[in-house]
Subunit: 275 residues, 2 copies
Protein backbone atom coordinates (compact mmCIF):
# COMPACT_ATOMS: atom_id res chain seq x y z
CA UNK A 1 0.00 0.00 0.00
CA UNK A 2 1.29 3.45 -0.90
CA UNK A 3 2.05 5.71 2.06
CA UNK A 4 0.65 9.22 2.52
CA UNK A 5 1.92 12.06 0.33
CA UNK A 6 4.06 14.58 2.24
CA UNK A 7 4.75 17.99 0.66
CA UNK A 8 7.88 19.93 1.64
CA UNK A 9 9.83 22.95 0.42
CA UNK A 10 13.02 22.30 -1.49
CA UNK A 11 14.48 19.79 -3.88
CA UNK A 12 14.63 16.05 -3.25
CA UNK A 13 17.23 15.46 -0.54
CA UNK A 14 16.35 18.57 1.47
CA UNK A 15 16.68 18.50 5.27
CA UNK A 16 12.86 18.46 5.34
CA UNK A 17 13.00 15.09 3.56
CA UNK A 18 15.29 13.68 6.28
CA UNK A 19 12.91 15.05 8.89
CA UNK A 20 9.87 13.53 7.14
CA UNK A 21 11.45 10.07 7.20
CA UNK A 22 12.46 10.48 10.84
CA UNK A 23 8.87 11.34 11.82
CA UNK A 24 6.85 9.12 9.45
CA UNK A 25 9.15 6.29 8.35
CA UNK A 26 10.24 5.20 4.87
CA UNK A 27 6.89 4.37 3.25
CA UNK A 28 5.78 7.97 2.61
CA UNK A 29 5.64 9.55 -0.85
CA UNK A 30 7.50 12.84 -1.09
CA UNK A 31 6.23 15.90 -2.95
CA UNK A 32 8.93 18.60 -3.34
CA UNK A 33 7.57 22.16 -3.67
CA UNK A 34 9.24 25.36 -4.75
CA UNK A 35 8.05 27.49 -1.83
CA UNK A 36 6.66 27.03 1.68
CA UNK A 37 3.39 28.62 0.50
CA UNK A 38 3.13 25.97 -2.24
CA UNK A 39 3.66 23.17 0.31
CA UNK A 40 0.82 24.58 2.46
CA UNK A 41 -1.39 24.91 -0.64
CA UNK A 42 -0.87 21.26 -1.66
CA UNK A 43 -2.39 20.18 1.66
CA UNK A 44 -5.16 22.79 1.62
CA UNK A 45 -6.23 21.56 -1.86
CA UNK A 46 -6.00 17.87 -0.95
CA UNK A 47 -3.02 17.15 -3.23
CA UNK A 48 -1.01 15.95 -0.25
CA UNK A 49 -2.07 14.47 3.10
CA UNK A 50 0.59 16.41 5.00
CA UNK A 51 3.22 19.03 4.66
CA UNK A 52 6.30 19.24 6.86
CA UNK A 53 7.84 22.69 7.34
CA UNK A 54 10.64 24.05 9.55
CA UNK A 55 9.56 26.54 12.21
CA UNK A 56 12.78 27.14 14.11
CA UNK A 57 16.49 26.46 14.13
CA UNK A 58 18.51 26.64 17.35
CA UNK A 59 21.11 28.91 15.72
CA UNK A 60 19.22 30.92 13.09
CA UNK A 61 15.96 31.36 15.03
CA UNK A 62 12.36 31.08 13.88
CA UNK A 63 11.32 30.64 10.26
CA UNK A 64 8.98 33.64 10.30
CA UNK A 65 7.48 32.94 6.88
CA UNK A 66 6.02 29.70 8.19
CA UNK A 67 4.60 31.38 11.31
CA UNK A 68 2.81 33.80 8.97
CA UNK A 69 1.58 30.92 6.76
CA UNK A 70 0.17 29.12 9.82
CA UNK A 71 -2.21 32.03 10.36
CA UNK A 72 -2.96 32.67 6.68
CA UNK A 73 -3.87 29.02 6.08
CA UNK A 74 -6.34 26.87 7.99
CA UNK A 75 -4.10 23.83 8.47
CA UNK A 76 -3.59 22.04 11.78
CA UNK A 77 -0.37 20.98 13.46
CA UNK A 78 -0.60 17.21 13.98
CA UNK A 79 3.02 16.39 14.83
CA UNK A 80 6.55 17.70 15.20
CA UNK A 81 10.10 16.44 14.86
CA UNK A 82 13.53 17.82 15.72
CA UNK A 83 16.40 17.13 13.36
CA UNK A 84 20.07 17.59 14.14
CA UNK A 85 21.47 19.53 11.17
CA UNK A 86 24.66 17.91 9.88
CA UNK A 87 26.25 19.75 6.99
CA UNK A 88 28.21 17.61 4.53
CA UNK A 89 30.66 18.60 1.82
CA UNK A 90 29.28 16.78 -1.23
CA UNK A 91 30.88 16.39 -4.67
CA UNK A 92 30.92 14.39 -7.88
CA UNK A 93 33.92 12.78 -9.63
CA UNK A 94 36.19 15.57 -10.88
CA UNK A 95 36.21 17.34 -7.54
CA UNK A 96 38.52 16.33 -4.70
CA UNK A 97 39.47 18.05 -1.47
CA UNK A 98 42.69 19.10 -3.25
CA UNK A 99 41.21 20.89 -6.28
CA UNK A 100 38.22 22.31 -4.36
CA UNK A 101 37.69 26.00 -5.18
CA UNK A 102 33.95 26.69 -4.94
CA UNK A 103 31.22 25.56 -2.56
CA UNK A 104 27.55 26.08 -3.48
CA UNK A 105 24.81 26.15 -0.85
CA UNK A 106 21.99 28.10 0.74
CA UNK A 107 23.36 31.27 2.45
CA UNK A 108 22.26 30.02 5.91
CA UNK A 109 24.17 26.75 5.43
CA UNK A 110 27.26 28.65 4.19
CA UNK A 111 27.05 30.92 7.24
CA UNK A 112 26.77 27.92 9.58
CA UNK A 113 30.07 26.54 8.19
CA UNK A 114 32.13 29.73 8.65
CA UNK A 115 35.00 27.84 10.33
CA UNK A 116 35.49 25.61 7.29
CA UNK A 117 35.87 28.64 5.01
CA UNK A 118 38.27 30.35 7.42
CA UNK A 119 40.43 27.19 7.39
CA UNK A 120 40.26 26.94 3.57
CA UNK A 121 40.90 30.47 2.36
CA UNK A 122 41.06 29.49 -1.33
CA UNK A 123 37.57 28.04 -1.30
CA UNK A 124 34.87 30.52 -2.35
CA UNK A 125 31.33 30.47 -0.97
CA UNK A 126 28.71 30.58 -3.73
CA UNK A 127 25.17 31.34 -2.50
CA UNK A 128 22.52 29.09 -4.05
CA UNK A 129 18.73 28.97 -3.57
CA UNK A 130 18.71 25.58 -1.85
CA UNK A 131 21.13 23.11 -0.21
CA UNK A 132 19.91 19.98 -2.01
CA UNK A 133 19.31 22.07 -5.12
CA UNK A 134 23.05 22.80 -5.20
CA UNK A 135 23.81 19.05 -5.27
CA UNK A 136 21.21 18.56 -8.01
CA UNK A 137 22.76 21.36 -10.07
CA UNK A 138 26.26 19.82 -9.72
CA UNK A 139 24.86 16.41 -10.69
CA UNK A 140 23.77 17.99 -13.99
CA UNK A 141 26.63 20.41 -14.67
CA UNK A 142 29.61 18.55 -13.10
CA UNK A 143 31.77 21.62 -12.45
CA UNK A 144 35.35 20.50 -11.66
CA UNK A 145 36.56 21.91 -8.33
CA UNK A 146 33.00 22.63 -7.14
CA UNK A 147 31.15 21.01 -4.25
CA UNK A 148 27.93 21.62 -2.32
CA UNK A 149 26.97 21.74 1.35
CA UNK A 150 23.83 19.72 2.00
CA UNK A 151 22.26 16.83 3.89
CA UNK A 152 23.32 13.18 3.75
CA UNK A 153 19.97 12.53 2.04
CA UNK A 154 20.97 14.85 -0.82
CA UNK A 155 24.19 12.87 -1.39
CA UNK A 156 22.13 9.66 -1.51
CA UNK A 157 19.40 11.01 -3.83
CA UNK A 158 21.86 12.36 -6.41
CA UNK A 159 24.42 9.52 -5.91
CA UNK A 160 27.19 11.92 -4.94
CA UNK A 161 30.15 11.44 -2.64
CA UNK A 162 30.51 12.94 0.86
CA UNK A 163 34.01 14.46 0.98
CA UNK A 164 33.66 15.61 4.60
CA UNK A 165 31.04 15.35 7.34
CA UNK A 166 30.15 17.75 10.13
CA UNK A 167 31.18 20.99 8.45
CA UNK A 168 28.93 22.97 10.82
CA UNK A 169 30.54 25.32 13.37
CA UNK A 170 28.18 24.42 16.19
CA UNK A 171 27.01 20.92 17.03
CA UNK A 172 24.01 22.38 18.87
CA UNK A 173 22.30 22.90 15.53
CA UNK A 174 18.76 21.52 15.48
CA UNK A 175 15.75 22.36 13.35
CA UNK A 176 12.20 21.84 14.57
CA UNK A 177 9.65 20.91 11.90
CA UNK A 178 5.86 20.76 12.25
CA UNK A 179 3.60 18.35 10.39
CA UNK A 180 0.44 19.98 9.04
CA UNK A 181 -2.83 18.42 7.89
CA UNK A 182 -6.23 19.65 6.73
CA UNK A 183 -8.17 18.10 9.61
CA UNK A 184 -7.42 18.50 13.30
CA UNK A 185 -6.91 14.95 14.52
CA UNK A 186 -5.56 14.86 18.07
CA UNK A 187 -3.56 11.80 19.10
CA UNK A 188 -4.36 10.40 22.52
CA UNK A 189 -0.67 10.63 23.41
CA UNK A 190 -0.59 14.31 22.43
CA UNK A 191 1.14 16.45 25.06
CA UNK A 192 1.77 19.82 23.43
CA UNK A 193 -0.48 22.63 22.22
CA UNK A 194 0.35 25.47 19.79
CA UNK A 195 -1.81 28.56 19.55
CA UNK A 196 -1.75 32.12 18.30
CA UNK A 197 -3.42 35.19 19.77
CA UNK A 198 -3.50 38.96 19.74
CA UNK A 199 -3.78 40.85 23.01
CA UNK A 200 -6.31 43.53 23.77
CA UNK A 201 -4.71 46.94 23.68
CA UNK A 202 -4.53 47.35 27.46
CA UNK A 203 -1.63 47.89 29.89
CA UNK A 204 -0.20 44.56 31.02
CA UNK A 205 -2.13 42.73 28.27
CA UNK A 206 0.62 40.23 27.45
CA UNK A 207 1.24 39.62 31.15
CA UNK A 208 -2.43 38.76 31.62
CA UNK A 209 -2.27 36.33 28.71
CA UNK A 210 0.75 34.54 30.15
CA UNK A 211 -0.85 34.46 33.61
CA UNK A 212 -3.53 32.02 32.37
CA UNK A 213 -0.72 29.48 32.00
CA UNK A 214 1.45 30.44 34.97
CA UNK A 215 -1.48 30.37 37.42
CA UNK A 216 -2.13 26.75 36.40
CA UNK A 217 1.54 25.65 36.40
CA UNK A 218 1.46 25.08 32.64
CA UNK A 219 4.94 25.22 31.06
CA UNK A 220 5.49 27.33 27.96
CA UNK A 221 8.13 25.92 25.62
CA UNK A 222 8.17 28.73 23.06
CA UNK A 223 6.86 32.20 22.48
CA UNK A 224 7.19 34.11 19.24
CA UNK A 225 5.78 37.41 18.01
CA UNK A 226 4.99 38.73 14.54
CA UNK A 227 3.63 42.08 13.43
CA UNK A 228 -0.14 42.39 13.01
CA UNK A 229 -0.66 43.65 9.44
CA UNK A 230 -2.55 46.88 9.13
CA UNK A 231 -2.14 47.63 12.85
CA UNK A 232 1.34 49.14 13.20
CA UNK A 233 3.20 48.32 16.44
CA UNK A 234 0.72 45.61 17.42
CA UNK A 235 1.63 41.95 17.40
CA UNK A 236 0.44 38.38 17.05
CA UNK A 237 1.86 36.06 19.70
CA UNK A 238 2.52 32.37 19.10
CA UNK A 239 2.74 30.18 22.19
CA UNK A 240 3.54 26.48 22.61
CA UNK A 241 2.76 24.82 25.95
CA UNK A 242 2.88 21.33 27.39
CA UNK A 243 -0.57 19.77 27.88
CA UNK A 244 -3.54 18.26 26.09
CA UNK A 245 -6.58 20.27 24.96
CA UNK A 246 -8.87 17.79 26.79
CA UNK A 247 -7.16 18.09 30.19
CA UNK A 248 -9.26 20.19 32.53
CA UNK A 249 -6.57 22.69 33.56
CA UNK A 250 -5.68 23.26 29.88
CA UNK A 251 -9.36 23.70 28.93
CA UNK A 252 -9.67 26.25 31.73
CA UNK A 253 -6.51 28.05 30.64
CA UNK A 254 -7.81 28.32 27.06
CA UNK A 255 -11.21 29.60 28.22
CA UNK A 256 -9.43 32.14 30.42
CA UNK A 257 -7.16 33.13 27.53
CA UNK A 258 -10.17 33.80 25.28
CA UNK A 259 -11.39 36.31 27.91
CA UNK A 260 -8.20 38.39 27.67
CA UNK A 261 -7.46 38.20 23.94
CA UNK A 262 -8.94 39.84 20.85
CA UNK A 263 -8.20 36.88 18.63
CA UNK A 264 -7.30 33.28 19.57
CA UNK A 265 -6.78 30.19 17.45
CA UNK A 266 -5.57 26.74 18.45
CA UNK A 267 -3.06 25.67 15.81
CA UNK A 268 -2.84 22.07 16.99
CA UNK A 269 -2.45 19.54 19.79
CA UNK A 270 0.17 16.89 19.08
CA UNK A 271 2.87 14.64 20.46
CA UNK A 272 6.00 16.65 21.24
CA UNK A 273 9.32 15.67 19.69
CA UNK A 274 12.18 14.40 21.82
CA UNK A 275 14.62 17.16 22.60
CA UNK B 1 31.25 72.89 11.50
CA UNK B 2 30.99 69.36 10.19
CA UNK B 3 28.21 67.26 11.72
CA UNK B 4 28.68 63.81 13.26
CA UNK B 5 29.42 60.81 11.05
CA UNK B 6 26.51 58.36 10.85
CA UNK B 7 27.15 54.84 9.50
CA UNK B 8 24.31 52.87 7.90
CA UNK B 9 23.87 49.74 5.81
CA UNK B 10 23.23 50.20 2.11
CA UNK B 11 24.13 52.51 -0.69
CA UNK B 12 23.65 56.29 -0.62
CA UNK B 13 19.91 56.96 -0.84
CA UNK B 14 18.91 53.99 1.33
CA UNK B 15 15.82 54.29 3.55
CA UNK B 16 18.29 54.43 6.48
CA UNK B 17 19.61 57.68 5.01
CA UNK B 18 16.11 59.20 4.96
CA UNK B 19 15.67 58.04 8.55
CA UNK B 20 19.02 59.55 9.61
CA UNK B 21 18.04 62.97 8.23
CA UNK B 22 14.62 62.75 9.89
CA UNK B 23 16.21 62.05 13.29
CA UNK B 24 19.38 64.16 13.12
CA UNK B 25 18.78 66.85 10.50
CA UNK B 26 20.72 67.72 7.35
CA UNK B 27 24.16 68.53 8.76
CA UNK B 28 25.28 64.93 9.39
CA UNK B 29 27.92 63.17 7.33
CA UNK B 30 26.80 59.80 5.97
CA UNK B 31 28.96 56.67 5.90
CA UNK B 32 27.42 53.89 3.77
CA UNK B 33 28.45 50.34 4.80
CA UNK B 34 28.08 47.03 3.02
CA UNK B 35 26.61 45.12 5.96
CA UNK B 36 24.88 45.83 9.27
CA UNK B 37 27.86 44.26 11.07
CA UNK B 38 30.18 46.75 9.31
CA UNK B 39 27.99 49.67 10.42
CA UNK B 40 28.20 48.48 14.05
CA UNK B 41 31.97 48.02 13.69
CA UNK B 42 32.50 51.58 12.42
CA UNK B 43 31.03 52.91 15.68
CA UNK B 44 32.81 50.37 17.89
CA UNK B 45 36.17 51.42 16.34
CA UNK B 46 35.43 55.13 16.55
CA UNK B 47 35.22 55.65 12.75
CA UNK B 48 31.67 56.98 13.12
CA UNK B 49 29.89 58.69 16.03
CA UNK B 50 26.65 56.80 15.39
CA UNK B 51 25.12 54.08 13.33
CA UNK B 52 21.42 53.92 12.47
CA UNK B 53 19.96 50.46 11.83
CA UNK B 54 16.41 49.17 11.24
CA UNK B 55 15.05 46.87 13.95
CA UNK B 56 11.49 46.29 12.81
CA UNK B 57 9.05 46.88 9.98
CA UNK B 58 5.30 46.84 10.58
CA UNK B 59 4.76 44.41 7.68
CA UNK B 60 7.92 42.31 7.51
CA UNK B 61 8.59 42.07 11.26
CA UNK B 62 11.82 42.37 13.21
CA UNK B 63 15.25 42.61 11.61
CA UNK B 64 16.66 39.70 13.57
CA UNK B 65 20.22 40.22 12.43
CA UNK B 66 20.30 43.58 14.18
CA UNK B 67 18.84 42.13 17.39
CA UNK B 68 21.72 39.63 17.36
CA UNK B 69 24.26 42.38 16.66
CA UNK B 70 22.94 44.41 19.62
CA UNK B 71 24.03 41.60 21.95
CA UNK B 72 27.28 40.77 20.15
CA UNK B 73 28.42 44.39 20.22
CA UNK B 74 28.68 46.74 23.18
CA UNK B 75 26.92 49.73 21.63
CA UNK B 76 24.12 51.69 23.30
CA UNK B 77 20.78 52.77 21.90
CA UNK B 78 20.64 56.57 22.20
CA UNK B 79 17.65 57.34 19.97
CA UNK B 80 15.02 55.96 17.64
CA UNK B 81 12.98 57.11 14.65
CA UNK B 82 10.03 55.68 12.72
CA UNK B 83 9.95 56.16 8.97
CA UNK B 84 6.94 55.63 6.75
CA UNK B 85 8.20 53.49 3.87
CA UNK B 86 7.14 54.95 0.52
CA UNK B 87 8.23 52.87 -2.47
CA UNK B 88 8.84 54.81 -5.67
CA UNK B 89 9.28 53.61 -9.24
CA UNK B 90 12.53 55.28 -10.32
CA UNK B 91 14.06 55.43 -13.78
CA UNK B 92 16.53 57.24 -16.04
CA UNK B 93 15.91 58.67 -19.54
CA UNK B 94 15.29 55.74 -21.91
CA UNK B 95 12.73 54.16 -19.62
CA UNK B 96 9.10 55.29 -19.55
CA UNK B 97 6.00 53.73 -18.09
CA UNK B 98 5.20 52.47 -21.60
CA UNK B 99 8.40 50.56 -22.35
CA UNK B 100 8.88 49.33 -18.79
CA UNK B 101 9.76 45.63 -18.70
CA UNK B 102 12.01 45.05 -15.66
CA UNK B 103 12.05 46.39 -12.11
CA UNK B 104 15.12 45.92 -9.93
CA UNK B 105 14.93 46.09 -6.13
CA UNK B 106 15.53 44.31 -2.84
CA UNK B 107 13.28 41.21 -2.56
CA UNK B 108 11.41 42.68 0.45
CA UNK B 109 10.59 45.86 -1.50
CA UNK B 110 9.45 43.82 -4.53
CA UNK B 111 7.24 41.73 -2.24
CA UNK B 112 5.74 44.88 -0.69
CA UNK B 113 4.65 46.09 -4.16
CA UNK B 114 2.87 42.87 -5.22
CA UNK B 115 -0.22 44.77 -6.42
CA UNK B 116 1.81 46.82 -8.91
CA UNK B 117 3.20 43.65 -10.49
CA UNK B 118 -0.23 42.00 -10.63
CA UNK B 119 -1.55 45.07 -12.47
CA UNK B 120 1.45 45.12 -14.86
CA UNK B 121 1.86 41.51 -15.92
CA UNK B 122 4.54 42.28 -18.49
CA UNK B 123 6.87 43.82 -15.95
CA UNK B 124 9.36 41.35 -14.43
CA UNK B 125 10.63 41.59 -10.86
CA UNK B 126 14.43 41.40 -10.68
CA UNK B 127 15.80 40.79 -7.16
CA UNK B 128 18.76 43.02 -6.32
CA UNK B 129 20.90 43.27 -3.16
CA UNK B 130 19.69 46.76 -2.21
CA UNK B 131 16.93 49.24 -3.12
CA UNK B 132 19.16 52.30 -3.56
CA UNK B 133 21.85 50.04 -5.03
CA UNK B 134 19.45 49.21 -7.86
CA UNK B 135 19.11 52.93 -8.69
CA UNK B 136 22.89 53.32 -8.54
CA UNK B 137 23.36 50.36 -10.92
CA UNK B 138 20.83 51.82 -13.39
CA UNK B 139 22.58 55.21 -13.17
CA UNK B 140 25.73 53.48 -14.42
CA UNK B 141 24.31 50.94 -16.87
CA UNK B 142 21.23 52.80 -18.21
CA UNK B 143 19.24 49.71 -19.23
CA UNK B 144 16.32 50.79 -21.48
CA UNK B 145 12.98 49.55 -20.13
CA UNK B 146 14.40 49.00 -16.64
CA UNK B 147 13.47 50.83 -13.44
CA UNK B 148 14.11 50.42 -9.71
CA UNK B 149 11.96 50.54 -6.59
CA UNK B 150 13.58 52.69 -3.91
CA UNK B 151 13.27 55.73 -1.65
CA UNK B 152 12.78 59.32 -2.76
CA UNK B 153 16.28 59.95 -1.40
CA UNK B 154 17.71 57.45 -3.89
CA UNK B 155 16.08 59.31 -6.80
CA UNK B 156 17.63 62.55 -5.50
CA UNK B 157 21.13 61.16 -4.88
CA UNK B 158 21.43 59.60 -8.37
CA UNK B 159 19.44 62.39 -10.13
CA UNK B 160 16.82 59.98 -11.44
CA UNK B 161 13.13 60.54 -12.18
CA UNK B 162 10.24 59.21 -10.10
CA UNK B 163 7.81 57.60 -12.58
CA UNK B 164 5.28 56.68 -9.88
CA UNK B 165 4.94 57.17 -6.13
CA UNK B 166 3.36 54.94 -3.48
CA UNK B 167 3.88 51.59 -5.15
CA UNK B 168 3.50 49.80 -1.79
CA UNK B 169 0.45 47.56 -1.20
CA UNK B 170 -0.09 48.72 2.38
CA UNK B 171 0.12 52.28 3.60
CA UNK B 172 0.66 51.05 7.15
CA UNK B 173 4.29 50.35 6.29
CA UNK B 174 6.70 51.82 8.84
CA UNK B 175 10.24 50.95 9.78
CA UNK B 176 11.67 51.65 13.21
CA UNK B 177 15.38 52.48 13.34
CA UNK B 178 17.61 52.75 16.41
CA UNK B 179 20.56 55.09 16.74
CA UNK B 180 23.62 53.48 18.35
CA UNK B 181 26.66 55.04 19.97
CA UNK B 182 29.73 53.85 21.85
CA UNK B 183 28.87 55.60 25.09
CA UNK B 184 25.59 55.44 26.99
CA UNK B 185 24.45 59.03 27.17
CA UNK B 186 20.89 59.33 28.46
CA UNK B 187 18.88 62.37 27.41
CA UNK B 188 16.86 64.02 30.17
CA UNK B 189 13.77 63.74 28.00
CA UNK B 190 14.35 59.99 27.52
CA UNK B 191 11.17 57.97 28.07
CA UNK B 192 11.89 54.50 26.74
CA UNK B 193 14.21 51.67 27.81
CA UNK B 194 15.41 48.68 25.79
CA UNK B 195 16.92 45.63 27.45
CA UNK B 196 17.72 42.00 26.79
CA UNK B 197 17.63 39.09 29.23
CA UNK B 198 17.60 35.31 29.47
CA UNK B 199 15.28 33.64 31.94
CA UNK B 200 16.27 31.09 34.52
CA UNK B 201 15.21 27.62 33.46
CA UNK B 202 12.22 27.46 35.83
CA UNK B 203 8.48 26.98 35.29
CA UNK B 204 6.78 30.32 34.70
CA UNK B 205 10.16 32.04 34.27
CA UNK B 206 9.05 34.41 31.50
CA UNK B 207 5.87 35.22 33.41
CA UNK B 208 7.96 36.21 36.45
CA UNK B 209 10.11 38.44 34.26
CA UNK B 210 7.09 40.25 32.83
CA UNK B 211 5.55 40.58 36.29
CA UNK B 212 8.31 43.02 37.33
CA UNK B 213 6.80 45.46 34.82
CA UNK B 214 3.10 44.61 35.20
CA UNK B 215 3.21 44.92 39.01
CA UNK B 216 4.49 48.49 38.59
CA UNK B 217 2.11 49.48 35.76
CA UNK B 218 5.00 49.81 33.33
CA UNK B 219 3.93 49.47 29.68
CA UNK B 220 5.84 47.17 27.37
CA UNK B 221 5.91 48.35 23.76
CA UNK B 222 7.72 45.38 22.22
CA UNK B 223 8.93 41.92 23.06
CA UNK B 224 11.10 39.82 20.79
CA UNK B 225 12.86 36.49 21.26
CA UNK B 226 15.93 34.99 19.66
CA UNK B 227 17.60 31.62 20.17
CA UNK B 228 20.35 31.39 22.77
CA UNK B 229 23.34 29.93 20.90
CA UNK B 230 24.73 26.71 22.33
CA UNK B 231 21.63 26.20 24.52
CA UNK B 232 19.05 24.62 22.19
CA UNK B 233 15.42 25.56 22.86
CA UNK B 234 16.39 28.41 25.21
CA UNK B 235 15.91 32.04 24.28
CA UNK B 236 17.05 35.61 24.72
CA UNK B 237 14.19 38.06 25.24
CA UNK B 238 14.31 41.68 24.13
CA UNK B 239 11.89 44.04 25.83
CA UNK B 240 11.16 47.74 25.28
CA UNK B 241 9.22 49.62 27.95
CA UNK B 242 8.15 53.20 28.59
CA UNK B 243 10.08 54.87 31.38
CA UNK B 244 13.44 56.35 32.38
CA UNK B 245 16.20 54.36 34.06
CA UNK B 246 16.41 57.01 36.82
CA UNK B 247 12.73 56.88 37.78
CA UNK B 248 12.28 54.99 41.03
CA UNK B 249 9.67 52.49 39.84
CA UNK B 250 11.83 51.67 36.79
CA UNK B 251 14.95 51.26 38.96
CA UNK B 252 12.97 48.91 41.19
CA UNK B 253 11.66 46.96 38.19
CA UNK B 254 15.20 46.52 36.86
CA UNK B 255 16.53 45.41 40.25
CA UNK B 256 13.64 42.95 40.52
CA UNK B 257 14.29 41.70 36.98
CA UNK B 258 17.93 40.99 37.81
CA UNK B 259 16.69 38.68 40.60
CA UNK B 260 14.72 36.49 38.19
CA UNK B 261 17.05 36.43 35.16
CA UNK B 262 20.31 34.64 34.35
CA UNK B 263 21.56 37.47 32.18
CA UNK B 264 20.38 41.07 31.89
CA UNK B 265 21.70 44.01 29.91
CA UNK B 266 20.27 47.48 29.44
CA UNK B 267 20.64 48.32 25.76
CA UNK B 268 19.72 51.97 26.16
CA UNK B 269 17.42 54.66 27.52
CA UNK B 270 16.28 57.19 24.92
CA UNK B 271 13.55 59.45 23.65
CA UNK B 272 10.85 57.38 21.92
CA UNK B 273 9.85 58.19 18.35
CA UNK B 274 6.41 59.50 17.51
CA UNK B 275 4.12 56.72 16.39
Amino acid sequence: MAGPIVAFQGERGAFSEEAAHKLLGRSIRLLPCETFAAAFARVARGKARYCLVPVENTLAGSVYENYDLLVENRLHIVGEVNLRIVHNLIAFPGTTRKNLRQVYSHPVALAQCGGFFRRHRRVAKVPFYDTAGAVKMLSERRIAGAAAIASRAAAAVYRARILQKNLEDHRENYTRFVLLARSATVARRANKVSLVFSTRNLPGALYKCLSVFALRDISLTKMESRPLRGRPWEYLFYVDFLGHVKEEHCRNALAHLSEVTDFLRILGCYRSARR
